[in-house]
Symmetry: C2
């Protein structure tokens, strides 16, 4: 009797999956998206090309999966206290960005990804939107509860909190500390509270 | 008697300057920083390499000068009303970013520039800091006047206002409209007013 196939395949496949994702991240970090080749991923990971193609339908799917694995899970269980939930989500995003060894390369990879239409769409749908949409829903819930001003633009609020992390890294080549990110969040909250 | 030499040189040189800067921007837009070659700039602009080297000491200096010319002047005369001045500066930055024909390429160029240490330093010193430092000074003046809370972090405030423009373009591939940018500015001002 064999173990049931999971999404990541059998145990041996799960091991190969980690190797391939890590090799992909290493190569992305080294050379960027444009120079990424399946042959190099196979060589660096020690996993056969046929195995890689069986697990991921395209290089695009593999790149997005590698980014997802680098960032880790980025969703929080909601408690009903929208401010506490928004704070928890902000902390989680900061943690997921700063704990990856690819923190310095991530913005460049993101910018490069956005130049490839197929990748941009999947990156947006799988890396950005899940977290961004949860945050936007929380702001909307706060407006319905009368905690936030009715003239609040939920997506603008969410983007205003997260964007200094990107700006500091991409443009200023500095990291935004967690206290500074929370200070931005507090500024924005202070301005939208009723 | 000859006309006095200006910073851009004689009229014939001024013409060549514009041609070289435009060719540089065109090539940056087309191929990015890494693939930029003086030979191509000479070919596209129709200006001799020796003339280009006489005017700019390095490719780095030329790239930064091209970015400066694309963005145009970005400083405002200060009136003493810090909120009005900050608003004017915000409008000017938005205008200078959106009027360039290279708006879509600028973030990628910026990110690429930041990968080249020499360029990064000049880009920061000549493109980013003049505007950012003026804005930071204005926030500090507002704090001294007692208009802004004493616990305000001036650079964080300035970065929080401008960063959604970068985030929307680089990560979301959308433009932040002037009304949306002003709404972010108003949110931040509302939260730091005493």
């Amino acid at each position: 009797m064999t173990a049931p196939r999971t999404r990541a395949g059998r145990p041996r496949d799960a091991d190969a999956t980690v190797k391939v994702l890590n090799a992909t991240l290493e190569l992305l970090d080294d050379r960027g998206v444009a120079a990424l080749r399946i042959d190099d991923i196979a060589r660096v990971s020690g996993v056969a090309k046929t195995t890689i193609y069986r697990r991921w339908t395209s290089l695009t799917a593999l790149v997005v999966a590698a980014m997802e694995s680098a960032l880790g899970p980025r969703a929080i269980p909601e408690t009903g206290d929208v401010e506490a939930d928004l704070l928890a989500l902000t902390r989680l995003v900061h943690q997921s960005i700063s704990r990856t060894p690819f923190i310095r390369a991530l913005p460049l990879i993101s910018v490069e990804l956005m130049q490839h239409p197929g990748l941009a769409q999947q990156y947006r749908a799988r890396i950005i939107d899940p977290v961004r949409e949860q945050a936007i829903r929380l702001v909307r819930a706060g407006m319905k509860q009368g905690r936030f001003r009715p003239d609040t633009d939920p997506s603008l609020v969410v983007d205003a909190v997260i964007s200094p992390v990107i700006y500091r890294r991409v443009i200023l080549h500095e990291d935004l500390s967690l206290p500074d990110l929370l200070a931005v969040g507090e500024m924005i909250l202070r301005s939208i509270r009723t």
